[in-house]
Symmetry: C2
Subunit: 114 residues, 2 copies
DNA sequence: TCATTATATAACTATTCACTTATATGTTCA
DNA sequence: TGAACATATAAGTGAATAGTTATATAATGA
């Protein structure tokens, strides 16, 4: 769930959320395409609960949406987020994470449900 | 002093710094014009050490610069900051703080050294 | 020089935060 | 139905953070 905030609170809350390297990188990745939790665990070299907890914060703030496909849950940037304009501008300053996805492909760890 | 960081670290550090409502508002104010510590204490209705500590963080990151005038030290946004482009874009999303400065004027608490 | 004013710093405290481990929930498939 | 896999949640822990109080430093002016 997300809460109604005034502009100042909303902006500072968004910056606080994205002032974490993991979440900021996640947004850059998930802007380009959806990823499931286990892919993010591999990319960030961290535990599954850690990834889930970051995703929950992003989801509670309305920044990402989830899309279950069978046993996997794919996350992606929510284009209807009220903060979308700000977020687009922020993410533009984050270095591309394409290499991370290529790495996943190479290792054969990319999950596909198509 | 400010430290050399890669792009990702630099961006996330900046967002973390400005993910605080007080510091974010300070940047909005100090972008328009310089303010001294005692003015900011009045505006933010908080203690002098609290204001000084926020300013120090902003200064350590290179986001603001100081300018002593007699017993007062005036702070303003540092236009030579390496993160300047990002910061300009962020600040544009913060509501105007002009009313705060007008309030100061009304109360006769504006410090002027001209 | 001394009192006053402005600011910085230090030490402490309460809260927040990210991460870990353990466990629960949900889905698939044999 | 039950084992295996994917994800979420709960509880605990240590580090970071913002604020407080107390004190130090610095500038002014009588």
């Amino acid at each position: 769930m997300s809460f109604a905030l005034n502009d100042l609170d909303e902006v500072s809350q968004t910056l606080k959320l994205l002032g974490d390297k993991t979440r900021l990188t996640m947004m850059k990745l998930l802007e380009k395409q959806e990823c499931c939790v286990c892919e993010l665990v591999e990319i960030f070299k961290t535990s599954q609960p850690s990834v889930s907890q970051h995703l929950r914060k992003l989801k509670d703030a309305g920044l990402v949406k989830e899309n279950r496909k069978g046993q996997w849950i794919f996350y992606s940037v929510n284009p209807n987020c009220t903060q979308n304009e700000l977020i687009q501008k922020l993410i533009a300053f984050v270095p591309s994470q394409d290499h991370e996805l290529e790495e996943l492909d190479k290792k054969g760890l990319r999950i596909s449900c198509d």
